[in-house]
Symmetry: C2
Subunit: 304 residues, 2 copies
């Protein structure tokens, strides 16, 4: 088990690559608990959230290198008790680590100075610490460095938003300068620079400072791969958001390393898909995660 879910001192990128190697698939399952999407048997309430998340983790653990709980849904899942769902988020983080999964907390947190330090402490240290957290870099280096500092000290990581996979992202992220350089390329340059210092790079050659690069635009992913050679890319957009495994492959280096593809809805809510009709929801999720893992592994040349 060494190298996959250690105490947090080993370098994040090395741990992530080891986990990908072990599962033989660079995939991550997004855990997005939506009250309107859960199988009917669960009902509502905090206990439903806890049970469903726990079952999903057990099902996907043999196939995925990591899970990415989306904290927004836990933040909203409180009922009468404000933020009660976050206690379950912390349980999910700990259960995932016990199951040998790395955990990427999708929090998109952002602020500056001591406020960013507080977010970094809340998410990369203490009882709800994840292996890596997502960060929004609109505030510039002041808003990213506090996360980098904590990541370096703890053997954890971060993924900074470069290019996202949603339709309207272009209206901001494709904003371009006189030379045709886009904002997302500019942001990528900043991410590469912030993650370049020797003490941030693991034995694998990858930095603990990664980037979020949507899969819906493969040409952009290839360009970003050039700008950020040492960043691990967290790649959303596969499945429900329309990107194919071949689209996702553009985010990887030629040797098949350097990225991890995330799928959420198409896996965790597979019981709602026509092709899995008639199966128990757990069987649908298992078949979907196996197919997801083998699709991606094949597309990036891990399995011929």
């Amino acid at each position: 088990m060494i190298g996959t879910t250690g105490s947090g001192r080993e370098h994040f990128a090395d741990r992530l690559l080891a986990a990908i190697e072990k599962k033989d698939a660079p995939v991550c399952v997004g855990v997005d608990p939506r009250p309107d999407m859960l199988p009917e048997a669960f009902g509502g309430g905090i206990e439903a959230l806890r049970r469903w998340c726990g079952e999903v983790l057990e099902i996907v653990a043999p196939y995925a290198a990591a899970v990415k709980p989306q904290i927004a849904y836990f933040e909203a899942w409180g009922g009468g008790e404000p933020f009660a769902g976050l206690a379950v988020y912390a349980e999910v983080v700990r259960l995932a680590r016990r199951l040998g999964l790395l955990v990427i907390g999708d929090a998109k947190r952002n602020d500056i100075g001591s406020t960013a330090e507080a977010y970094a402490a809340a998410h990369l240290t203490g009882p709800a610490a994840v292996d890596a957290v997502t960060v929004n870099g609109y505030l510039g280096a002041d808003g990213i460095r506090p996360f980098v500092d904590v990541a370096r000290e703890t053997g954890r990581g971060l993924f900074v938003l470069a290019r996202t996979s949603n339709p309207s992202a272009a209206a901001i992220q494709d904003f371009a300068d006189a030379g045709g350089k886009t904002l997302y390329e500019h942001m990528a340059g900043q991410i590469a620079e912030l993650g370049a210092a020797e003490e941030l790079v693991g034995a694998s050659g990858y930095s603990c400072v990664g980037a979020v690069v949507g899969a819906t635009y493969p040409a952009e992913a290839r360009r970003l791969r050039e700008i950020m050679p040492r960043q691990i890319f967290l790649v959303p957009g596969y499945g429900a958001q329309g990107a194919t495994a071949a689209d996702c492959a553009a985010a990887f280096h030629a040797d098949g390393s350097g990225a991890i593809v995330n799928a959420a809805r198409s896996v965790i809510y597979a019981h709602r898909r026509e092709e899995y009709k008639g199966l128990r929801w757990q069987q649908a999720v298992e078949q979907a995660v196996r197919k997801f893992a083998s699709d991606i592994a094949r597309a990036v040349g891990r399995r011929e």
Copy 2:
């Protein structure tokens, strides 16, 4: 009391302007509980957080139109219990409203689609609902609209980051196109457009979609005032971050309306400032908030 802290149905901008009118000062106090900054008597732990926040609110309530709790510090303040500080955040929100203060939740949340809907639900509805929340717009309109929709339905608001007051913000936000238009101006154009629909604008002529505009660059604030005439500006940077009251005045319309200035450290930690030495911490905070309110009121021409 009508118009200041209603049930949430009245338009946010109208409620905020009424609160500013009532206190005769367009000021907001940032509530940033940092364990290393509290007066010594408090010690640590959840009870210290609760008591200190409660006392600060009582002291500033007669002078400020609004408070802006910074959720990062509550998120980090858990000790052994993950996210336990957020229960106190919810209490602070409710206490502030009982004291006649509007509450701006400084959360800088951001995501897309149903995830952004979950954040909007967590922060603009339910037991921890604030009057307005801050939002990071890097993901484009998809990431802002879910907050706008909930704000419209509930009589609440949002402030989208346009230009922030930190030193490295320029490296991202001043990125400019061939015509010299900066990213922050481009973002401001998107904010103005998203907040322009008739049903989003209150009787005061201001939209429920506001903007965060740092006070450290008055020339930029004037330019942004032109691009976003109907947005209320939330203006950080006064005091500890170096902006003067005159700098802040650039964010207002000529009639003295359209913005609210935030100060945090220089008020809530006034007991650490040389000029208030020898006072009890509560007296230091009270003198600092009075000075802050009258400085800003004078600079924007409310008091001659």
